[in-house]
Amino acid sequence: MKQAPVRLATLLLLAGLLLLVIASFASLPLQWQALLSADALRSATEFVAGFAPPETAPAFLDKTFVALLETLAMSALGTGLAAIAGLMLALPASGRLGRSLRAVTRILLNATRSVPELVWAAMLLIAAGLGPFAGTLALAVHTSGVLGRLFADALENTPPLPEASLRINGASALAAFLYATLPQISPQLLSYTLYRWENNIRAAAVLGVVGAGGLGQMLKYHLSLFQMQQAATVIIAMLLLVAAVDALSFALRRWMMH
């Protein structure tokens, strides 16, 4: 009885990855013993205790609320634009419109997401000026690259039968995609989009640097000033926002799947 052979190339790659992991740990001067000391625990609890109680002065809460709305607007809009662009890029990138277009779009997607949000922010800052608009665009551009790639991979991994059968019957590529593959992967697309939205809510550094305000800038400000209680309020606001998106994601997926 012949065993199917495990490909040598696969073994080599896996060995290579293992080697990378080992080399990474070996080359970094990591100090684990510091983590296990009693001092570490004391120091950590002290740090965490510093956040209590969160600032609840009405004026500060108002300010936080405004920042929360700003963050919500920037992240939602940025993610929404990116989801649309990402889906449009994912179609060619998943090879549905031919091999050459696949290669070209993949390169485009790679480049867009290789450039960190910070760099996009700086570039768009010059084009769009200081403010939330530049932040929104920076998020949108970078996230398009990310979602485009995740969507494209998800498309490639979907069971092909329903779409293939529509194609065989003469439907156009796009129509077959819309009628057969989209309903299969929509929960996954939705989950990626909402998850990127969470990410964008936390994209503090970017939005702060472009003076776009929002929770990110507030957090950096208060942490830098060691105003831990104010920072705690901001973190809680972020946490609520992320939890709300997580709950939305959960509810939408449940609604879709059941």
């Binding site: 992991v21 080399a23 290789s114 960190p116 910070l118």
Partner: protein
Amino acid sequence: MPRAASSLPHSDPAWPGRIGAGVLLLVLLWPLLVWSEFRPWLLLDAQSLAATGRFVADFFPPAHSTDFLLLVAQAAWQTVAMATAGMTLALVGAIPLTLIATERLSISRLAGRMRWPARLLRQLVRWWLILLRSVPELVWALLFVRIAGLGPTAGVLAIALTYCGMLGKVYAEILESTDAHATQSLLRNGSGRLAALLYGALPEAASELVSYTVYRWECAIRGSVVMGFVGAGGLGQRMDESMKMLAGSEVSTMLIVFILLVAAADGVSKFLRARLA
């Protein structure tokens, strides 16, 4: 037996809901546009176009002095090493959490609702994952500076915790998006949860999981700005400096390194996905 022209079917029961959702979406969109000062025509303004042009022109040619390239090479390795170490730790934490959080693998959900202790545990894990990923990396970094001091340890731990939260959530959702049939059939025949996952969902989800994991690794490389905060160096820190100084040619060199790293990651992902079948 061709039927006589049937009376028109009662209308689409989902249509009012769809109209409602559409209207709601439009109503919500408006304040978003206002708050984010959404004015795309600003981009086409001649002056901003010129300014952008100047900035981009600055990117060429990329900086390529030997010193700088050496510096970048060293920073790139540091970054890759920290990203890899952080991801490895994140995976170690995320995999067990995923298994708990995945509802699809619940035995009690096979028929009807989950039992309450299972629901509670699952809910606790979900909250824990939310906490892990919604506490900003900067806060983790400050915490670990206190514990482990300046240097890569703090950075690696900050990555590990945040990414653990993200991986756990996304893995669970990927597993839940797979076709339920194979897994459920195994569970119904009495296999254990983990075994059912391995034999039922993994073949379908494996490519997606690999694709996402590699993508996260890329993110760890790009997100190494936080490493700079804690004095761990790396490309993120260099990029941050060059960006602040508007040193376009340096930025473009580093962007090229990023693009190469990302392309390499993409290649690994593609290869693994093709072979994992």
